[in-house]
Amino acid sequence: MIESIAFYMMAGVALGSALLVVTLRNTVHCALFLGLSLAGVAGVFGTLGADFLFASQILIYVGGIAVLMIFAVMLMGRTSDLTLRQVNQEWLAGLLVCAITAVGLWRAAKACLSATASGSPAASTRPLGRLMLGDYAVPFELISLVLTAALLGAIFFTRREAGGRK
């Protein structure tokens, strides 16, 4: 029962702030709500018993990505943004498409309403660790390469520009 309540709360937070993210005019607020939404998803992970995911979500998304977004917004922010429209002309089309998709997804998800969980969730951190350094060792290393490459790429992009301006 508690689980259910927690789930609904967290899901509400996540969905609600997500909605705000895509509709608010002030980009700074958008970024803040993004953080909230991500935290909500973290909570949902908690209800699933995925404690490691929960932690990661907080650390990476809320602590990292969302903060990064805020920084980015502040770096590029213009005062006029607050008065300008943040939604383009095609929002109606987008809404339509989303609605159609939503119907499709609804029908798919509805079929799963009968599947319940068996037993209580086991602690997942240890098996996750084994998996990562066992069967998935190579992808694990590869993903770290991807991260490094992304980091280098980012530095490269921004630095070149900085040099160009001088």
């Binding site: 699933l48 939503a102 319940t116 996750l128 998996l131």
Partner: protein, 103 residues
């Protein structure tokens, strides 16, 4: 009323739809990036849920979710760097102004 897989999938779908909507309609590039993060999260929720409900003995789904997080982090880093670069060189952050792909 116990929680079922369906609940989680509804949540995932919701986040996904919102993300898609955002990606389609936001004018600023950063907004689009945020929306994409939402889509990623929708996928993660689904993965974690499938793991919990369909294969409670393993943790493969969570592992995949972890990978996605990492990729998402990389994507955000590069994305933001690109946005920053474009912003610096062209002083633009709105999508309709960036049309170098015009056929």
């Amino acid at each position: 009323m116990t929680l079922t897989l369906g609940h989680y999938l509804f949540l995932g779908s919701g986040l996904f739809i919102i993300g898609i909507f955002g990606a389609l309609t936001r004018r600023s590039v950063i907004g689009i990036l945020m929306s994409i993060e939402l889509i990623f999260n929708a996928a993660n929720v689904n993965l974690a849920a499938f793991n919990r409900f369909l294969h409670p003995d393993g943790v493969t789904g969570q592992a995949f979710a972890l990978f996605i997080m990492t990729v998402a982090a990389a994507e955000v880093v590069v994305g933001l760097a690109l946005v920053l670069a474009i912003y610096r060189s062209r002083d633009k952050i709105y999508m309709e102004d960036i049309n170098i792909m015009r056929g």
